[in-house]
């Protein structure tokens, strides 16, 4: 460790040269975090914070550097129990800084570990603990590292696409059983760098976007809020153990332009994007109409290839006023949810003429015209699962709701 501290000060001085910035980040590793889920349940977490006064968040803090910057990342492990590391996922650092315990180093209780690298191509990358990674990543020890162009401007990369805002959406899941002490306080042998650990079956019940789910996604900092003909750059990243199928509203004109921190030579215009664990994508959107809709994110089991859940990120394309009102006062309500063969759609004064129901793979399974009742009963016999319910007027989608058939 002494050697690393000496190296740190050497690099601190040697990195300061013409044309380079030096960027310092500190992550404090803790394993007694708490996270309140959308249903009020509070779970124990592991995670990273940037000060002692804050809880470790899920995901961890988003870190930034500009292309060519010399980055020093200080991991300060104040947690009891197993050691931790930082793997700089996709940043292609050298072996010593790669964060894999038996091939580089691990950071024990009350130790600092320093990681050094030069920020590579602009893009979206992860950092995460690589000690018993199956448990520590699920526990919350991950975040996103964003590299911007050398001048820090809002352009995807030198010679790339300018944008007015970027939005980061990091997908993951939580299985509450994995957050019990019996799992999180796993065995570890401080004389070994490979820790053999038993893990439970994985049955996630929280499906997250930026650590939030369900009504938490209605918060304005999650919603995609933009204006007609304004270009936004979406950074989509999956650090969970399920695949994501992301469906953008067609009117957003989504164009997939980069992946894993590199440009795509032939950008793909598509309203559907699959993101597997560990992947990142850059998506440009430039809506052509005013719109209230949502980005649909399906969480697909890697073994059964079936969707386990769908989450919706609100989209508002209009002027920048009134977002809170729009998000809080949705025009329709679906209840009870989950339910068996019947549910109701209640309108809060918004006229509509059609209801369409899609299964988790996007197939239209039911269509029904509206009969002008304020509370409409839907009776339908479908297999258990997650369904998307679209409410339309004159073939325009007014709202999209989720129904869980039990």
């Amino acid at each position: 460790m002494t050697r690393r501290i000496v190296l740190y000060f050497f690099l601190m001085s040697s990195f300061v040269s013409v044309g380079q910035q030096m960027v310092n980040h500190q992550l404090i590793a803790r394993n007694l975090g708490e996270k309140e889920m959308h249903d009020g349940i509070v779970l124990r977490t592991f995670g990273f914070a940037q000060s002692f006064s804050e809880q470790p968040s899920i995901p961890g803090p988003t870190l930034y550097a500009n292309e060519g910057d010399s980055v020093v990342l200080d991991l300060f492990n104040v947690s009891q129990g197993a050691p931790h590391t930082i793997h700089l996922h996709g940043l292609d650092v050298n072996q010593e800084n790669d964060g894999v315990p038996h091939l580089s180093f691990e950071v024990h209780h009350m130790e600092h570990g320093y990681y050094y690298f030069v920020a590579p191509h602009p893009g979206t990358y992860f950092y995460h603990c690589h000690v018993v990674s199956t448990i520590h990543v699920q526990a919350g020890m991950y975040g996103v590292f964003i590299v911007k162009p050398a001048d820090g401007s809002n352009i995807t990369w030198d010679g790339g696409h300018p944008y007015s805002q970027d939005k980061l959406y990091t997908m993951s899941e939580i299985d509450p059983l994995w957050h019990e002490d019996s799992v999180m306080e796993h065995d570890h042998d401080t004389t070994q760098t490979i820790h053999e650990v038993s893990i439970p079956e994985y049955h996630p019940s929280y499906f997250l976007v930026n650590g939030q789910s369900e009504q938490q996604l209605l918060e304005p900092d999650i919603a995609l809020q933009t204006a007609k003909e304004e270009v936004s750059f979406l950074r989509m990243a999956n650090i969970g153990y399920l695949a994501n199928r992301v469906t953008f509203p067609e009117e957003l004109n989504a164009k997939i332009i980069s992946t894993d921190g590199r440009p795509i030579v032939n950008p793909e215009i598509s309203d559907t994007l699959w993101i597997s664990p560990g992947e990142r994508y850059g998506v440009l959107i430039e809506p052509i109409v005013d719109l209230i809709d949502s980005i649909e994110i399906s969480y697909v089991n890697m073994n059964t290839l079936t969707s386990e859940d769908i989450q919706y990120v609100p989209v508002l394309v209009s002027g920048t006023n009134g977002l809170n009102e729009v998000l809080i006062k949705r025009p329709f309500e679906l209840y009870p949810n989950p339910s068996a063969d019947q549910f109701y759609i209640k309108s809060f004064g918004q006229a509509y003429d059609c209801i369409k129901i899609y299964d988790a793979m996007g197939r239209l399974v039911h269509i029904e015209n509206h009969d002008n009742t304020e509370k409409k009963s839907i009776n339908i016999n479908l297999a258990e699962g997650i369904y998307k319910v679209e409410i339309l007027l004159s073939q325009c989608v007014l709202d999209t709701l989720k129904w869980i058939k039990r």
Partner: protein, 288 residues
């Protein structure tokens, strides 16, 4: 030691096939049944296409030159009938009864990685192990071969006993060329070894039922071939999803030395029988 010997034989087999004179060549594989021993002591009935009469849990990797037309003879040493198919190569044999053999002609106009599998009693015979890869190459660069497959012990036992499936797919073993971490690193056909600046090709076939998401530490690689998404060819990435019964060919030109992991980033797949570490995790070694 036994394993290393097997790896050396396999490597020799691959090399020999590739170094044969281009043109009309003959090759032979055998359908063998045997027992796959898992690391935690379970014994599973298993079947493979092997390059000899002796059962090996690793399906034969058939590697040829692009100019070769291959006359491939398949001997069925099993007690059930089988058939060999390669959909992308347009090859399907007749039904091969126990104790009989069949010869098919294989040729590819384009280089790439392809899957061959038992299309009889599909997909159950494939789930029992009968699927491997054929590679047609147009270069002599270093090449490595990964046949990805998971094992659901319940499914394998049910198919073996009554050819029926009663439960959702829930694999507990995640294998590359029939091996899990740390044994995969001892497989010379799988473990990437090279030097900075080399051009290295990695041929990946997913013959399992699950999606895998292979993440490389230390390097970005180029997608040379994607059977599922030809439009993705040319992309430079560090993480590569691969769907069931699809293939990828990746090109790696390492820019730095070191020993780096490659693993499935569905981190459930770096376990085995609920034990971490295990599964689809190996390291690559790049010398200066």
């Amino acid at each position: 030691m036994v394993f290393l010997k097997e790896s050396a034989i396999l490597f020799l087999c691959i090399t020999t096939a590739f170094n044969s004179f281009s043109g009309q060549i003959s090759d032979t594989i055998y359908i063998n049944s045997g027992t796959l021993q898992t690391f935690n002591g379970s014994s599973l009935p298993y079947k493979c296409f092997n390059s000899s009469n002796v059962f090996d849990k690793r399906n034969a990797i058939l590697s040829y030159s692009i100019s070769d037309t291959v006359s491939l003879t398949i001997f069925n040493n099993d007690i059930s009938p089988h058939r060999i198919s390669s959909i992308e190569l347009g090859v399907t044999s007749g039904l091969i009864s126990p104790g009989m053999n069949e010869t098919v002609s294989i040729h590819s106009a384009a280089s790439g990685t392809f899957i061959y599998h038992d299309s009889e009693n599909y997909p159950n015979n494939k789930i029992l192990g009968l699927a491997g890869m054929i590679v047609f190459r147009n270069n002599s660069s270093a090449s490595f071969y990964w046949n990805l497959k998971e094992l659901d012990t319940l499914w394998i036992n049910e198919i073996s006993s009554n050819n029926q499936l009663s439960a959702e797919y829930n694999p507990k073993f995640f294998l590359i060329n029939g091996n899990h971490n740390p044994d995969i690193t001892g497989d010379s056909s799988a473990r990437i070894v090279g030097n900075v600046g080399d051009t290295i090709h990695i041929h990946i076939a997913n013959t399992g039922n699950a999606i895998h998401s292979i993440h490389f530490h230390g390097y970005h690689l180029k997608v040379e071939q994607s059977s599922a998404h030809p439009g993705h060819e040319g992309r430079i990435k560090d993480t590569f999803p691969i769907n069931p019964m699809e293939v990828l060919t990746l090109e790696l030109v390492p820019h730095q030395p070191g020993e780096y992991p490659v693993h499935d980033h569905n981190l459930i797949a770096v376990t085995g029988a609920n034990i971490y570490p295990n599964g689809m995790f190996l390291t690559m070694l790049i010398e200066p």
